[in-house]
């Protein structure tokens, strides 16, 4: 539904200039024609391997990068194009980011309470008592003791530090949070705690998440819909159950097959060969055709467009155009 979309991304392009010497400078097309929505209180999982462009997409959504093409609307305001500055300023406090590495995301010389209060300080207008009251409230929300405010990041484990980062992200009551691999640096037993926390916060405050991850199992646990990205393009978008139970795109199928299962009796199918192509010299046609078991001559020349294959699901693959 367009009217309750928190985030509307249309034909998003992102290219970086690389190479120092002028003669060798080229552009690296990192994202191509990305389109997706995130609804209020919804989690969209964005899954892909390294270099697929998933983190770049997340950074664009919080305003850290300006895209080279396409449009992004946050809370109904367009943060791309001529009104970027004004609109970004208007929505900035409602959009937050949780990074992968909680060690790097916290200033080691700042007390936890000050780190959490930093967004409040920047937004201004608060009394000292309100501030410390709010910090304690936030710590409670993420399941940390109130006295944590007086301590330093090194006194906490990785999982606890990620809770601190989440508390800081919640400080200004955001409506949308980009979580970029929020649990991949954590141990399995800590992962579950943080994932559950994120889901509880969503239920309580109706926050929308873009949940970026390479771990398909974690994404299945948190997302309602999932987008799979390969070499800068979305190859499939579907509701969680449809995507995991009946993946359409051969890449989604390969990705799911590749995940090791905790079941020693499972007989593994053939392993997909090859590697993600370099974005400096991407293959023509479908970017997956070099690894695809179903590749047809057409795939080498014509790039498939993302199109609806069933209500609420889209796939970019020639196989589904002939059907």
């Amino acid at each position: 539904m367009a009217d309750d979309a928190l985030v509307e991304v249309r034909d998003l392009d992102m290219a970086f200039n690389v190479g120092k010497a002028r003669a060798r400078r080229t552009t690296l097309q990192v994202l191509r024609k990305l389109s997706f929505d995130v609804g209020r209180g919804e989690t969209l999982g964005l899954v892909g391997e390294s270099g697929s462009g998933k983190s770049t997409a997340g950074r664009i959504l919080v305003g850290l990068f300006e895209p080279t093409g396409g449009s992004v609307k946050l809370f109904g305001r367009t943060i791309t194009g001529p009104e970027r500055k004004a609109n970004l300023a208007a929505v900035r406090s409602r959009v937050q980011f949780v990074f992968q590495d909680p060690h790097a995301a916290l200033n080691p010389r700042m007390r936890v309470g000050d780190s959490i209060a930093e967004p409040i300080d920047i937004a201004g207008a608060h009394t000292r008592r309100d501030r410390s009251h709010r910090v304690k409230e936030l710590l409670e929300m993420v399941g940390l003791p109130r006295d944590a405010a007086e301590r330093f990041p090194h006194e906490f484990s990785g999982g606890q530090r990620q809770r601190i980062v989440i508390a800081r992200a919640l400080a200004l009551e955001p409506g949308f949070i980009v979580c970029d691999e929020p649990v991949s640096a954590l141990d399995v037993s800590m992962q579950a705690q943080v994932v559950n926390l994120l889901m509880d916060l969503q239920t309580k405050f109706g926050i929308g998440y873009l949940f970026i991850a390479h771990d398909l199992a974690v994404v299945r646990a948190v997302a309602q819909r999932v987008a799979v990205i390969y070499a800068g393009s979305i190859v499939e978008i579907a509701s969680k159950d449809a995507l995991y139970e009946q993946p359409q795109h051969p890449y989604t199928q390969a990705l799911l097959d590749a995940v090791p299962r905790p079941d020693p009796a499972r007989v593994r199918g053939p392993v997909i060969g090859g590697e993600v192509p370099s974005l400096l010299a991407p293959p023509p046609g479908c970017r997956f055709h070099t690894r695809c078991p179903h590749a047809m001559p057409r795939c080498q020349v014509e790039e498939p467009r993302l199109r609806e294959t069933a209500p609420g699901r889209q796939t970019a693959c020639h196989l589904y155009e002939t059907l």
Partner: protein, 328 residues
């Protein structure tokens, strides 16, 4: 039964901390048989890598010490062996592959130089013979266009290719034991599947034993025949892979399996083991998992549990559960 290839007996490794020596690994005992495929699973601080590094005695002297125990290999105790003897074993009889292939490879040497090193050292090969062998090894680890790639530098290769090179170096002298410490953790999932398949094939082809260390139960389930579960420096459970995954007995093993999000659907909410992993220098009376355990009994807080065989090839460190197993 034939004598084991490597036998670790009551190994305790201590690290120097601000507050004195802390046990990173305590009382670890297990055997690895010739050609066996053992998986060691645990979270950070469980002692799995510390144990592996001890086999080759790769801990920095001064920062770590082996306070008790013995590691026997070919009739020798590796903890007592001279540096000279160890150098002969490392890379020839026992080889290791680490998690991060970029920091394990030397960026200023070609692939050929790095594979040749152990061949020239251990097998006295000539430069030309070593180069020929290096190309063969690259073929063996399925690097396309090996004859050209052999002269390249590591930065030209992708993460998956670098890990293949690491494996080529490790198997160059046909070791009897390959220790792989999180060999696929830094890699993407499709590349991880390729590397695991490669390791599986090489093991079958070369008949070497493999000790695979991972935090990922999925990787362990696919690869190992037998699994050792470690928690806070101790072995808590040791069982054949199918037994462990069908009926885990230790509450920590159960918790670990339950907290793994399932790819094939299942519960909406993940099970989370409460609390956190203790620091090595933290004193906990009785069982080290006790404070996080849902099945803790008074006895768990008074006496540290012992690792006891409850069935053939199945050892468990849990006082209440061991007793229950005895009664049945």
């Amino acid at each position: 039964m034939a004598s084991p290839l490597v036998s670790i007996d009551d190994l305790t490794v201590q690290f120097r901390t601000d507050r004195g020596w802390a046990n990173a690994v305590e009382g670890v005992s297990f055997d690895i048989a010739e050609g066996e495929c053992v998986g060691v699973v645990g979270e950070s601080g469980s002692g799995k890598s510390v144990t592996a590094l001890s086999i080759l005695r790769l801990h920095a002297r001064g920062a770590a010490r082996y306070s008790t125990g013995a590691i026997s290999y070919a009739g020798r105790d590796l903890l007592q062996a001279s540096e000279r003897d160890l150098r002969r074993i490392r890379g020839r009889d026992i080889a290791m592959v680490f998690q991060d292939p970029m920091s394990s490879l030397n960026p200023v040497l070609t692939i050929c130089d790095q594979i040749s090193e152990s061949l020239r050292l251990h097998q006295g090969m000539s430069r030309a013979a070593a180069r020929k062998k290096a190309i063969e090894l690259l073929d063996l680890v399925r690097i396309p266009d090996a004859a050209r790639r052999v002269d390249e530098y590591p930065h030209r290769l992708s993460g998956g290719m670098r890990q293949r090179v690491m494996i080529a170096i490790a198997i160059a002298c046909r070791p009897r034991l390959l220790i792989a410490d999180e060999p696929t953790t830094a890699l993407d999932v499709t590349i991880q599947a390729q590397i695991l398949e490669l390791l599986r094939d090489l093991r079958a082809e070369l008949g070497m034993a493999v000790m695979l260390i991972s935090h990922d139960l999925g990787v362990i389930a696919e690869f190992a025949r037998r699994v050792i579960v470690m928690y806070a420096g101790r072995i808590v459970e040791d069982a054949p892979v199918d037994v462990l995954f069908q009926s885990p007995r230790h509450p920590y093993t159960e918790g670990l399996m339950a907290s793994m999000p399932a790819l094939d659907g299942g519960a909406a909410r993940l099970y989370a083991i409460p609390g956190r992993i203790p620091d090595p220098d933290e004193t906990i009376d009785g069982c080290r998992f006790g404070p996080r355990c849902a099945h803790s009994e008074p006895i768990c807080r008074t006496a540290p549990p012992r690792l006891i065989a409850i069935a053939d090839g199945h050892r468990l460190r849990c006082t209440p559960r061991t007793r229950a197993a005895d009664l049945t």
